[in-house]
């Protein structure tokens, strides 16, 4: 379970990225964070990864209070979370297999376990047979699928995606969303997006943000700011 209680994040120059945000996300829930650029979507994701620390309030993931400055289990927290970036963050010098297996290596999995796990996840994201291909030979959609594979492999409990379809054409966007849809109910999924079509058609929980504040939190909602 993820819980935000009156979370505020101010940057050094005084900009308020998030103001008094409170919400709770249950295990295996599928949630969209929507809002215009600068609304605070990415800030929420970065706070969950403990890449940022909140200026005020508290954030709890499972039983861990990750907003505390004394929190010393950032690595353990991050091993629970898979993250999908808008710019994919695929390592160009590594092939598809290596890019995905890196997530397992961090988790301390043995090399002999990796091949079958990577193959399973490649099947899920429709990239079978592309293990040895290098990123330069892949399309944007395929790169994002590699990123998703990397984020979901190793049984990570939470999947965060920051504008995962931001750089993709409509057809590929839907292919990627189908992958997220397949994972529904298996892990907690939080997607930050401003793609109205996806949000409106999937009818999932939507948290709407504007100027750093939560303006709406609706079950089976749509993109309606």
């Amino acid at each position: 379970m993820i819980q935000f209680e009156n979370v505020t994040k101010k940057y050094l120059l005084g900009t308020t990225a998030l103001s008094q945000a409170s919400f709770q996300i249950e295990d295996n829930e599928f949630v969209f964070l929507v809002g215009p650029s600068g609304a605070g979507k990415t800030t929420i994701l970065r706070l969950l990864l403990r890449d940022y620390l909140p200026t005020g309030g508290s954030i709890t993931v499972d039983t861990m209070n990750i907003s505390s400055k004394k929190f010393r289990q950032t690595e353990k927290l991050r091993r629970k979370i898979g993250f999908v970036f808008q710019d994919f963050k695929i390592i160009p010098e590594k092939n598809v297999f290596e890019n995905i297996a890196i997530s397992l290596r961090v988790l301390g999995k043995q090399p002999h376990d990796m091949r079958s796990k990577v193959n399973d996840v490649l099947k899920l994201v429709n990239l079978e047979g592309k293990e040895e291909v290098f990123p330069i030979q892949l399309s944007a959609g395929e790169l994002q699928r590699v990123a998703i594979a990397r984020a979901i492999i190793g049984d990570r409990d939470i999947l965060l995606a920051d504008e995962p379809t931001g750089n993709l054409d409509p057809k590929t966007t839907w292919e990627i969303i189908k992958i997220f849809h397949k994972l529904e109910g298996k892990k907690t999924i939080i997607i930050a997006t401003h793609n109205t079509d996806i949000v409106n058609s999937l009818k999932k929980r939507v948290i709407v943000l504007k100027d750093g504040a939560i303006v709406k939190d609706v079950r089976k909602g749509g993109y309606d700011i």
Partner: protein, 297 residues
């Protein structure tokens, strides 16, 4: 190993710089270590020689010599005194010149003087002992090695200090170069490191490949520099043999252990290599740890 070789292939110039600085440092350090060991060996050898030798005139009787010996023995400044009779002196002379019959023919035991070999409790007592002996009747000549020992002690002391300064300089220089080259490598993998951190990698997991690579270079540099030094030592062995003629062994003492430095022996060389490898790998670990630490902060 594959990752390590890939990293070297992708950053050949930084890798070469890291290797060369470690090679340079270890080559100089090991050369200094071996030279200092030889110098200490020579110092130890000189210190085991009689520190003061008094040669007596032919006319003096053995009882008069023994009286002087007793006076010295009873003094609190002398460790031991050894009497060398004319016959014993001839035996030593014969042994030293056994390969030269001409020299043996020219000398008989009558010509060689009796002598006293004196070992002082402290080198600072040597001038006083020598002065005492020179005043004794029947003493022909007094030799004492204070000058040689003093010079060797001064030389060792200067070399020790210079070496210490030099080592500090080498360590600083190597650390700076290694840190810089590792920082280059870290910067080239900046995005990968950011990703690893977000995936939950520990700091050690991120550091490990850089540290491993640096330690590999440390070990490689130790092997290369040592191979060159040993080749040079073996090549110059005949020259050293003739230079150290008459000295059967040179050794250095470490606690209760005696390590033979000359003639060259595998134990001494093994210790030198081990120290060089540990120093090289330690330096490499330190440099890469600082570089990655700076970034991971």
């Amino acid at each position: 190993m594959t990752d390590l070789l890939t990293s070297i292939r992708r950053t050949p110039y930084q890798s070469l710089a890291a290797f060369l600085i470690l090679f340079f440092t270890l080559f100089l350090s090991t050369t200094i270590l071996i030279s200092m060991s030889f110098l200490h060996g020579i110092l130890g050898y000189v210190e085991t020689r009689p520190q003061v030798t008094a040669y007596f005139q032919q006319k003096i009787s053995q009882s008069d010599i023994f009286k002087i010996k007793d006076d010295l023995t009873n003094s609190d400044k002398v460790e031991s005194v050894k009497y060398i009779s004319k016959d014993e002196a001839f035996k030593i002379y014969s042994q030293l010149n056994k390969d030269n019959p001409l020299l043996l023919e020219m000398v008989s035991s009558d010509i060689l003087p009796a002598s006293l070999e004196i070992y002082a409790k402290k080198p600072s007592y040597l001038p006083e002992i020598a002065a005492f002996l020179q005043k004794q009747p029947g003493v022909d000549e007094v030799h004492f090695q204070k000058n040689i020992v003093d010079r060797l002690l001064i030389l060792t002391s200067i070399l020790r200090r210079t070496t210490l300064l030099f080592f500090v300089f080498l360590i600083l220089m190597s650390t700076v170069v290694l840190t810089t080259t590792t920082l280059f490598k870290v910067a080239m993998k900046k995005e990968e490191i950011e990703l690893l951190k977000l995936l939950g990698a520990s700091n050690w997991y991120i550091r490990k490949p850089f540290v491993q690579e640096a330690i590999f270079f440390g070990f490689l540099a130790a092997i290369t520099s040592f191979a060159i030094i040993v080749t040079a030592l073996l090549y110059s062995e005949p020259f050293l043999s003739s230079y150290l003629r008459g000295i059967s062994t040179l050794s250095i003492a470490y606690n209760s252990y005696q390590i033979i430095v000359w003639p060259l022996n595998p134990l001494f060389l093994g210790i030198c290599f081990s120290l060089s490898a540990v120093f090289g790998m330690g330096l490499a670990f330190w440099g890469s740890y600082i570089a990655t630490g700076k970034y991971l902060k």
